[in-house]
Every structure is written in C-alpha cells, then in structure tokens.
C-alpha cells in the first residue's frame, strides 16, 4: 500500500521525476499598498504568470489592502488590467477563472483597527472557502515609515499567530533602513513579530536568472574557478547604471542617494556572489554563511577622499532628449547634497582576493541602462609578440550582464586576418535570451514562489544587511563632513573625478 497516515512522504513525489514543478502548498498572499506601482507592474503580473505556469496551489488567494474604496470586483478588475498589460505569459481565461475565486479586497488605512479585523475575517473566510490552510504571506509594499505600524497592527489583531502547522511570513522591500542603526531598529521591529526565518527581504536582483547563473558559471564549470583569484584577476568592476533621472521618486530619493539606494543592497550582494567561496551546498544557510564571510572581510580604503566619488547629474542631453539637472528637479532642495552617482573602491581581506580592488559604481542619468559585473584579468606575464603587434590588445575580461539582455561576454585577443601579426580584442557573447529562453521568468515570479515555498536561498539575511551598512556607513559619514557631490553632465558616464579615481590606480572604467 502507498503510505500510512502520518508517514509523511508523498508517494507521487520522486526526486527523479524532473518534470513535476515545485508547486507551493496551500497559501495566500496579502499585499499592503496594493494600489502602488510595484504591485501593479510587478507583483500582480508575477502572480498571474505563476498561475499560468501551473506553479500556484489550487485555491491560492490574493488579498489586496489599501485605502481606496473598492469592492472585491473593482479589485479584480484592477488586477485584470494590470495582468493584461504587464504579464509575461499570454492571458488565458481559465487561469484567470482559477485566480479570481480567491481574490479579496480589504479597504482601510494602516491605523484602522476595524480594517485589520476585516482582514482577519477575510483570511478566515478564505481558509474555509479556498482551503488556504492558514498559510499567508504579508507583502509590505509600503513606505518604510509605515513598516512599524503595519507590523504592530498585524500582531495586535492576531494575524501573525501561526497555529499548528501553518505559517505566516513577512515580505519586505528595500530600503532596509538608511544606516546601521536604523536597520537594526527595523530588524528589531520585524523580528519582534515574525521569526527571523519567516522574514523575506526582497532584493529583486537576486531573483534574476543571470545572478543565479553567477553561481552556475563559477561552481559548475572548471574553466573559470582556477583563475578566479588574485593570481589572475587584476580588478573587478560592478556597475549599475540607469538612464532615467529621479523622476517621481524625488520625495524618497532626496537625502537617501545612490549609494544607500543601490550600493548597500544590490551591488554589495552582487559583489558577495562574485567573490564568495564555494558554499558547502546550495541551501540557504550555506549560501548565507559564505556571503556573510566575504562581506565581513571587506576592507575600506584608508583614504576615503581618494577612493570614493559621488556626483550629481547636471542638465544635459540623455539619448537625444534634453533633460534637467538633479537640483532643478521638482521636489528637490536646490542645495541638496544627495548623491545621484557613487563610485567606491573596496578590498577583500582574504587569501583569494588580497590586493584585488573591487570598484562599485552606480548612477542615474548615465549613458544607458545597464547592470554588469566585469572581472578584468591581468595581462599575460610575457608576450612573444613584439610591442606593435599587441598595441591594441586590452586585458581579458569575463563580463556578466545582469540587465538588460542578460548574458555573458568573454573578451580576449585574436589575430586580425591579414599578413602581419596584429592582435586585437574580440568579444564572444552568450546571450541568455538567445541561448535559452526568450523571456526568462521575471525576478518577482521566482521570489514570490520562493516565499510561498519557504525557500530562503535568494533572500539576504539580517546579518548581510547589517554588514552592508557597516561597509557603507563610514563612507556616508565621510561624505557628510567633506565637500559636495561633483556635477556631471547627464548622458555621460559620470564625473571626471570617477575616471581620475581609477586613473590613479593605472586603470580605467569599462564603457558598458
């Protein structure tokens, strides 16, 4: 016979059966701030795409919570529009029919006790009607100042009580504080109510296929790892460039700046994945252990003035469009010292990386939108070719492009066809979109599924967040006390100071 009650294992599951996808167990998702942009453009379409791929459990429920006066039908109509406009997979009526049965809307503000009582009632009703089994994830797509109140309300109304075998999880978005102290405070608030392993911090970069591919590239192959160290690597450049300005985020952005907004989370995570040692396994604990180790080994340069640069975009032309400078943007203080460009140089004090600088830069209104990790190798120690033959030859590089058009480029020298010996750089390109899927799953799809499955692999932990702030805080303090951001023309690759910073080391930035 198949199995006895209580014996646990599902006889229809078999690790060798690779076709069966990981389907989340009975569960529901509650989104706070459901009328926001993120929810409409990313979360709702991601939920639909998951359902369309057959990865959501039967009876999956989606509850929206917002101030707007909506009935369940209005909410469903809103989700319908959002899905039609933004979903990755084609719209199919029967998938929609499956989803719509579990859609509810709760109207209220975050300090409204009645609304949270109604929310509890809705969840209980869904457990009965949809069989969600008391398993709910609360997605806090709300401004950071509302975190404490929402979390306290959840606790007050018994929404975080996990009864026998069911779970309640919290999903929070960056920013995870604005310095170490505020991050610790935030963690305290959240962990008072939710167990640390039930808190999922979304860093959507980690859900991207190429970022996961960094691990595959490094640890599944033999040809990269032997040279992935100080003996062969000259330096590493990690860039995240945006072509847009501060736009509608002025209120949030001013006073925060590029370094806190991007370097603290995305770039330091990318750096950790690039530099970490091989984890013992691919479970969340082993990965977090290696990332924590490498973040803990990060050393700041002695002279912060010479090894960090910040800038602000000035008026100019970006991609054929005339744009205004940061200080002229709506809602920005004309005397603001907020950085829209930040470049820093870090070292990692361990045997593998001692002496190899990691250059991290990010900025708004740069040449184009691109995120990439470039591992630049040393030049060949000896060249049998004469100087003129290799004049045009640069350094070898492995470049991992995270967005857009995810892929990997390898740059090496090759002989130019013809009679004389002349060696020049060529790039070999592996485009993810081309070699595998045209539309790889959206990061949010993967991350929402992981939350429902309770798989914490791709989520930064408390220690990682706090270590990242420890790295960034001294730099921010230095910037507060010294000088002002350098101005750079919109549409260029940042202030000249950034180029000078690398030139002092005898290096130069890649043009991504």
């Amino acid at each position: 016979m198949s199995r006895l009650p209580g014996s646990g294992a599902n006889p229809l599951r078999d690790p060798a059966d690779r076709r069966l996808p990981r389907i989340a167990g009975p569960s529901g998702l509650v989104i706070f701030g459901v009328t926001g942009d993120l929810s409409r453009k990313k979360l709702m379409p991601a939920v639909y795409d998951l359902a369309n791929r057959g990865l959501l459990p039967p009876g999956f429920s989606l509850v929206g919570f917002a101030r707007r006066e909506w009935a369940h039908e209005d909410f469903a109509a809103e989700v319908h529009d959002a899905v039609k406009e933004h979903s990755r997979t084609p719209f199919r009526e029967e998938v929609w029919q499956q989803l719509i049965q579990g859609m509810r809307f709760v109207q209220g503000t975050f300090d409204d006790d009645d609304a949270f009582e109604r929310l509890r009632g809705t969840i209980e009703e869904l457990d009965k009607a949809q069989g969600t089994g008391g398993n709910f994830a609360f997605y806090l797509s709300v401004p950071p100042r509302s975190f404490p109140v929402v979390i306290q309300q959840l606790k007050k109304h018994g929404l975080t009580d996990q009864s026998s075998g069911s779970w309640r999880r919290a999903v929070i978005e960056k920013p995870f504080g604005h310095d170490l102290r505020s991050a610790e405070e935030l963690n305290k608030v959240v962990h008072e109510v939710f167990e640390p392993d039930q808190v999922f911090r979304i860093d959507h970069y980690l859900g991207k296929e190429t970022v996961q591919n960094i691990l595959a590239l490094r640890f599944a192959n033999t040809m990269f790892e032997p040279i992935w160290n100080r003996s062969f690597v000259d330096h590493v450049q990690i860039t995240m460039a945006e072509d847009i300005g501060v736009g509608g985020r002025a209120g949030y952005y001013d006073g925060i700046g590029a370094a806190r907004d991007v370097i603290q989370n995305h770039l330091l995570q990318l750096m950790a994945l690039t530099a970490m040692e091989e984890p013992a396994s691919f479970d969340a604990d082993a990965l977090a252990a290696e990332k924590t180790k490498v973040l803990g080994a990060v050393r700041l340069p002695k002279d912060l003035g010479r090894s960090t640069v910040r800038g602000q975009y000035a008026a100019g032309w970006q991609g054929g469009e005339k744009v205004i400078g940061y200080l002229e943007e709506d809602g920005i203080d004309a005397k603001s010292k907020t950085d829209t460009f930040a470049a820093i140089k870090l070292g990692i004090d361990n045997r593998r990386w001692a002496g190899v600088p990691f250059y991290l830069r990010t900025g708004k209104r740069l040449g184009r939108r691109v995120t990439e990790i470039a591992v630049v190798f040393q030049r060949a120690p000896h060249s049998p070719f004469d100087h003129t033959a290799t004049e045009e030859l640069g350094s070898n590089a492995v470049v991992i492009r995270v967005q857009p058009d995810e892929g990997i480029t390898v740059r090496f020298g090759s002989k130019v066809p013809g009679t004389s010996m002349e060696i020049r750089d060529v790039s070999m390109d592996f485009a993810y979109g081309e070699s595998f899927t045209e539309s790889s799953p959206e990061a949010y799809e993967r991350l929402i599924l992981d939350v429902l499955l309770g798989d914490a692999n791709l989520f930064p932990r408390t220690e990682e967040v706090e270590l990242s702030w420890q790295i960034l805080d001294p730099i921010e303090e230095y910037w507060d006390r010294h000088g002002r951001p350098a101005q750079y023309k919109s549409g260029t690759w940042g202030p000249v100071e950034a180029d000078e910073m690398l030139a002092r080391d005898g290096r130069s930035w890649r043009r991504p």
């Binding site: 016979m1 209580g6 690779r18 029967e94």
Partner: protein, 348 residues
Amino acid sequence: MKIDLTGTTAGAINKALVRGRRAIGTPAVGMVLTLVIVTDEENAYDALKAANDASREHPSRTLVVIKRVSRSPRDRTSSRLDAEVRVGAEAGTGETVVLRLYGEVSEQADSVVLPLLLPDAPVVVWWPVYAPLDPANDPLGALAQRRVTDTYAAEQPVRELSARAEAYAPGDTDLSWTRITPWRSMLAAALDQVVCEVKAVEVEGEEFNPSCELLAMWLADRLDVPVRRSLSAGPGLTAVRMDTSEGPITLDRADGSLATLSIEGQPARAVALKRRDTAELIAEELRRLDPDDTYASALAYGVERLNTVPEPARAEPAAVAEPVEEAAKAPAKKAAAKKAPAKKAAAK
C-alpha cells in the same frame, strides 16, 4: 532568408547555412541543440510550426526529414535530395533545413543528417507520426540522445504503448506522457495537502487516448494500488478519482480547460488544466535531455495490468466483469461503488 537547393548534398547544405548566416549578419549563434523531425509531407507543416515556436525557448537547428513516396518504379531506382535552407526570422530563433528525400536516399537519411548536426550539441529526434517500432535502433534514432514519439497519433495507441514498453531504451519519451505533466503535478499537489493512504484509483478519459493509460500506469506504479481505467466522451482526460483513507480526492475536468479539485473536508477549488498545444509540449520535452526514469517506470508497469472498463463506467457500474488479474479486481470494484456519492458531493 530562404535558399532552395535541388539535387544537392549535405556539404552543399552546410555551405548554404553559412552563407545564410553571413547574409543576415549574425555569424555566431547560440543554438543549444539539433532537433530532427522525421515526418511525411502531410504533417511537416504543423510539426515545423510547433518546432519553430518551441525554438523561442530552445534555439535550435531544426532538420525536417521528409521521405517522399515515389510513384513509379523508375523513380524508385533514382535518388535525389532536395533542401530548403531557412535562416533568420522565418526559422524562429534558430535555423531550419527542410530535407526532401526521393528514391534510394530516403532509406539512407542518416547519411544526410549526420553531417548537418551541430557540433557537440545534443540531438533530439521527433517522429510526429509513424514512429519506428524500436526508436533507439532506428538509424536516425541512434544519432540522438532523446527520441520523442507520439502514441496519440498511432492507429492503435494502447497496443503501441506495449510496443514502446518492450523497445524502451533510456532517452525514449512520448508526447502522450508530456501531455499529462499538469495532471501529474496537480495530483501530487493534492496529496501534498492530505496525509492519507490511497486505496484505489480511477482514471477516466476518452478512448484511444494513451495519455489516460500512461497516467493510470504512473499512478499504479507510484501508489502500488489497483487502478481502473474507464471511458468517457472526452475531451482527453476527464477525471481522476482517488479513494483514500481520508475520503475521496477528485480532479474533474469536463471541458478540457478548467478543472475542479475536490478533497474531502476541503472546499472544491477551480484549477486551470488547459490542454496544451504541440509547441508547448515540444518546449517541455526539450527542457531536459536526460533519460526520463519516471516515464520508463510507468511504462514498464504494463498497460495490460490496468483494469480497463470497456463501457462508459457510470452507465452500469456494477455489471462490469472482465478478465483482470485477481489482486486488482476486488478493491477496484469496491472503490467504484464508494465513489458514486463522492461524485455527488463534489458537484454541489
């Protein structure tokens, strides 16, 4: 871009491929496999269309091998190879060569295909119709890591399943098996939700649909319980009923798209279980190229061990008595009797 070659050879086709790629300006390509489609003229169009759609997920070189029937004895002795080379937008994200083989060369198709395979990349052979009885030992099948047949297209699907089981070699797979992945995943999800002991199972679906048999064999193999296969008007699979220690679990799909999952003590829930088109099936098939052991194991269970009910089951549930092995007989009947009220409960 399209290049037509008449009375040609594999070497000339290779040159045409390089020329085509140069002409569209992408000399390097990231193709991940070679897909060989062996078919007749009648089915070539649909098969190629499905393959091109699937190539969005798996950029591939697609070789369509069409064996042309020669009408006269004179034609049969002469031999000719025609090719149509397509690169760029017309060939999905990869490149396509349609090969038409006349006369003697049609018996030597492997000699044409071998030089056209991508270096080092895996090879998949797909027979949309008329699959050989022993795919692994077919000259073209022998070139491939993965051989995809489709018993759904066979004249006598159930007998064909037995033949597949007999000739099975690692790397064989069948689109009838691919078709039931959503069902299998939903049934597994249902058993994730209830800890119970499954006592008997019934799989209901249209006649001449080998997917029903495969699903029944998989369930019988995994659960080690008697499985009853009953017939309905379709479309495709219509229901799976599991009799468990915690009450019945039913997955019911009457219309071919939206199903209802009913579990005792839990509310009935709607589940999207759409019948998928061939392009999606092929895309799933190309996702994994290692041997499918679960398929092998289900196939090896043996279609003849299923308790097949010849008439629509619900018409005369008690009167059925057919030669089946003794062990399977009694519990299956009991299960069927028990299920009648369960069905009503689910319909509410």
